[in-house]
């Protein structure tokens, strides 16, 4: 256990404070990117390719150009300069490396080939439909089988290795050797991607749907070829992203290019169909697993060879081995990966990228091995738990997987499980069989660099600002909580200003690192602002503390007081500021990246968890539903129990989608994502959301700063799918190794009620 200092916060930390931005959202007054309207604003509607590969012979824009309201048709002939990111060195990440309309080559179905700009959205839509593109189609590949051999261009990578996994497996007494597959999945936030670009020579203001205003600014500066200071990116509210909005997509550059050409504000929004084509997806993975153990259940070897598809032009690696090297104790391990190319849009991170599909394979293999060992799957995991990251020999800063599994077992009632397949009937419903499954979860923890400003204002309010954004997770709320925690200023008097690249640089909302990243910077900025307030108290002429040493003063309950007297004897800070004719006590703070901290580098930092899932299987009508979930999360200190629980609940529901419903279907004949709408691409509805019980094991992690908070945005999804397939096996005897679980597979079950 690291001995770094933890701090004891006030009761506002860890409370169930509702989101402070909730009323704005429920009353429809929160401004999302596409809600911005400006005088003379016009609308861009992209035209997308209807072949999966080929060359554009010609684009006939004549009919469209004559249509009412049409102002501009952009094609690769007239798009103007849009640049690629220079390799290496830059601190911005784009998604599709090819700028839109760069050439006349089509590499996937749905790639932008033109854009119409018109006075109204309807005019732009109808004109976009009137554009005739003549293609010279070429052959393409959207095959679901990712067996392609590694090449010089796409070689096999060894990601982690210890001992000799190959020979240990060959001679091991108990083993499993299976391949697991996860499909391409599409991000389906309610809010679709949108950009409103305002050009005010030489400056662009971009109202964006982004999970990273700073990153977006950096990328668009390079793409548009303008200095950073001439780009301002604004995302006050985001209708969620799930990773799909981490990095800029081509429509943003198209909107900016059109605004520059027309000298008018331009709004471009993707539609739901485009969400499946040109703004990213979780790539398909194929993972070959060879696990072995001694007869008494000690892991002997673990081999994980995986592939994921990527597009033509980008090497997007889905890091399925994220958790493999350290999640269990095993002397022999080999982890390798390779990419295969397909004619699809650029893949991009989706909630828990890599780890979530990776853990589907790891935890499914663990379940199958436990069955081969005739061992309880919880006991099997407990037996192979470790407090050392065996891939690098470092201790974990805080790992309580064991407790997660134990508490989860207790809350779920695991001891009542009869391991025999199909043996458990639903009480009171003889038609229905119950299946119980478990899986472990893990997700990395860390933080990046960040700056924040805090002002304690002489009207009794505070303002905290940072160039980060709230993607719907509760970032606004925790900002206010930290300031309130340290100053005693009530929550409703703390104004949080985020979502603007002109603010002090803050983090992207990704990798579950945002909270851990912003907390130290806000805390420091608040403390520095308090110092200024105390100095003011000690110097202001009419102050009761005039002439006192600032060190002898304290700041609590929004008052300055003598350190050895209670806060109630103090003076409200705003009075002191007013006495001194000072508008605000300002403070700046910063966080440095976790890996720049030598103490932190001694530890392996991760969050852990356990998912316990019950499914109901009614074989008489082939109906499968998830009926009960217990999710136990070891994520350090929870700053806000309500928003934290919301994250886990949402992630579990998303996991039900991953396990049972979601798959983007690319048709072999045309290469198009066919089920590109909310009715045909299925995600769970409310009726599919079962009773979900969330428990946090709260050990503040001192390596993550004095609050000890790790992120919890992603871990709730990890482990859900393999716990479902384990439960499905327990109910039906059918092992599903390719997601999603489809009833046609389960109808092969011979289990009878």
């Amino acid at each position: 256990m690291p001995d770094a200092a933890l701090y004891t916060p006030t009761a506002i930390i860890g409370s169930e404070l509702p989101r402070i931005d909730g009323p704005l959202k429920t009353s429809g007054t929160a401004m999302y990117a596409a809600d911005y309207h400006f005088p003379h604003l016009v609308h861009g509607v992209p035209v997308t390719s209807t072949v999966a590969a080929g060359k554009i012979r010609s684009i006939d824009t004549s009919a469209a150009e004559k249509m009412p309201g049409v102002l501009l048709v952009i094609t690769h002939d007239n798009v103007g300069p849009l640049f690629r990111m220079a390799p290496g060195g830059h601190d911005g990440r784009t998604s599709e490396s090819r700028p839109p309309l760069e050439d006349d080559i089509v590499r996937y179905w749905g790639q932008y080939v033109a854009m119409v700009v018109a006075e109204t959205i309807e005019q732009a839509q109808i004109a976009a439909h009137a554009i005739k593109v003549d293609y010279d189609p070429s052959s393409f590949n959207v095959s679901k089988v990712l067996d392609d051999s590694p090449t010089e261009e796409l070689p096999l990578h060894t990601e982690s290795k210890r001992g000799d996994a190959i020979s240990a497996f060959a001679s091991a007494p108990v083993k499993i050797d299976q391949t697991y597959v996860t499909p391409a999945e599409t991000h389906n936030p309610m809010e679709m991607h949108a950009t409103v670009a305002v050009w005010n020579n030489p400056k662009f203001t971009l109202y964006e749907t982004t999970q990273g205003v700073m990153n977006h600014q950096h990328v668009m500066a390079e793409t548009l070829g303008v200095p950073r200071e001439n780009i301002q990116v604004i995302t006050r509210f985001l209708g969620s992203g799930f990773g799909g909005k981490l990095f800029p997509w081509p429509h943003s550059a198209l909107a900016a290019a059109a605004a520059r050409q027309l000298n008018r504000p331009v709004k471009v929004s993707t539609n739901r169909q485009m969400m499946f084509q040109n703004v990213g997806h979780r790539p398909r993975t194929q993972q070959h697993m060879q696990f072995s153990a001694t007869p008494d259940g000690k892991l002997v070897s673990l081999r994980h060879d995986y592939r994921n598809h990527t597009n033509l032009g980008d090497d997007i690696h889905e890091n399925c081995g994220e958790a493999t090297p350290f999640i269990y104790s095993v002397p022999n391990l080999l982890l390798t990966s390779a990419l295969v190319r397909r004619n699809v849009g650029t893949p991009t991170p989706m909630r828990g990228p890599g780890a979530v599909p990776g853990l589907f394979a790891v935890e499914s293999a663990m379940d199958e091995l436990a069955i081969a060992l005739k061992m309880d799957p919880v006991e099997f995991r407990l037996k192979n738990d470790t407090l050392t990251d065996e891939s690098n020999g470092k201790p974990f800063s805080s790992r309580h997987l064991k407790e997660c599994l134990q508490l989860g077992s207790e809350k779920f009632g695991w001891s009542k499980r009869n391991p025999k397949v199909g043996s458990m009937c639903k009480p009171g419903d003889p038609d229905v069989i119950l299946g119980w499954g478990v899986a472990a979860a893990s997700w990395g923890a860390g933080h990046g660099p960040c700056q924040a400003s805090v002002a304690l204002l002489n009207d009794g309010t505070a303002r905290v600002s940072c160039g980060t954004q709230d993607v719907g997770t509760g970032t606004y709320t925790i900002f206010a909580q930290i300031v309130s925690d340290r100053t005693g200023i009530p929550i409703d008097k703390v104004r949080v200003v985020i979502g603007d690249s002109a603010l002090p640089p803050g983090p992207t909302s990704g990798g579950s690192t945002c909270t851990a990243t912003v907390l130290p910077a806000i805390a420091e900025a608040t403390d520095n602002a308090i110092k200024v307030a105390l100095a003011t108290a000690a110097t202001a002429k009419d102050s009761p503390f005039h002439g006192k040493k600032p060190d002898g003063l304290a700041f609590h309950e929004a008052r300055v007081h003598l350190e050895d007297r209670p806060a109630s004897t103090g003076t409200p800070y705003q009075q002191l500021l007013k006495m001194a004719n000072i508008d605000a006590a300002n403070g700046e703070g910063s966080t440095s990246a976790l890996n720049s901290n030598p103490e932190a580098r001694k530890y392996s930092t991760h969050s852990f968890g356990a998912q316990f899932i019950e499914v109901e299987w009614d074989p008489g009508i082939a109906r499968l539903r998830v009926s009960r979930v217990v999710s136990v999360i070891d994520g350090g200190r929870m700053i806000n129990k309500k928003t934290a629980e919301n994250q886990i609940l949402g992630a579990v529901v998303m996991g039900i989608g991953m396990g049972m419903l979601e798959e983007t279907i690319y048709t072999p004949k045309t290469g198009q994502p066919l089920n590109s709408n909310y009715a045909d691409y299925m995600v769970p509805t409310h009726a599919d959301s079962p009773s979900i019980e969330v428990h946090f094991i709260e050990y503040p992690d001192p390596i993550l700063g004095e609050y000890g908070a790790r992120g919890i945005g992603e871990i709730g999804l990890a482990g859900v799918a393999p716990a479902i397939t384990a439960a499905v096996y327990h109910a039906t005897g059918v092992r599903v190794r390719e997601l999603p679980v489809r009833i046609e597979r389960l109808m092969q079950s011979t289990v009878q009620v």
Partner: protein, 325 residues
Amino acid sequence: MNQFNYLHPASTDQAVSSASSDGSKFIAGGTTLVDLMKLYVENPSTLVDVNDLPLAQVESLPNGGLRVGAMVRNSDLAFHPTVKEKYAVLSEALLSGASPQLRNMATTGGNLLQRTRCPYFRDVTAGPCNKRNPGTGCSAIDGFNRTMAILGTSDHCIATHPSDMDVAMTALEALIFIEGPKGKRSVPINDFYKLPGDTPHIENVLEPGELITHVEIPPAISTKQHYLKLRDRASYEFALASAAVVARVEGGHIHSVRIAMGGVGTRPWRAHEAEAVLTGKPATPAHFQAAAEAALRGAKPHTENAFKVELAKRCVIRALKVATA
């Protein structure tokens, strides 16, 4: 969507005469039509809005039946006291369809004429489709066909009829009342829909300009009824298989029964063969099984939907079990 003229007649006569021109379409709730217009699958030049026509009543008939106006919303019909009491199968079917928001808009007439969810039909860029573009071919037969029909298909089209309501109406033997340029007529629901054959774009017997005014549902006294819908998720999904059962059971024997299936046919599918197997027999699992076998005897699965044959059987068996319990 393309531009169109918009007419808003006040009477059925006016509506019929305005809709007789080429390229005109009635619009009721718009939940099918507007969707397809946005996708450029339907491109009417004139929309004749029937929302103000006096066709929104549900009335009991002297013979004990029910008359349902074409403009009665799906939610209103589902929650109508008489429907809940005497036509539970219809209420259950309606409530299993779509979402509350859609049901609040969707109408009885529009539901009868909703179009298939075949993804190739709904996407003008998705390649050949005989229903959308007669004579071009069918992309579904050797493409994505997990959700397609297994009964009533042809080499030209295997699209599933998507409705739940119409399946219940079929089991209830509803009569569809039509008013058109040539006058009024009524058609039993079982004769209303056409099989795809080599003209899958012709889906029913309506002539241009013909308006559905109302539906009459005969009395279903002393019957037990049930609608069962099977699908991947618990709500907001079209049926993979469904079954509507209206049965009269006396002393454990099936006096008479009507069975219709959804999600498996190119039209709401009346299972006469299954009914024949059951009539006069004890309500036992063995007879339910025999009935299900008879119902699916003509099924023709494709590459991805063979499971629907077995699924539909299980659906019929369970629906019979629940209805006759």
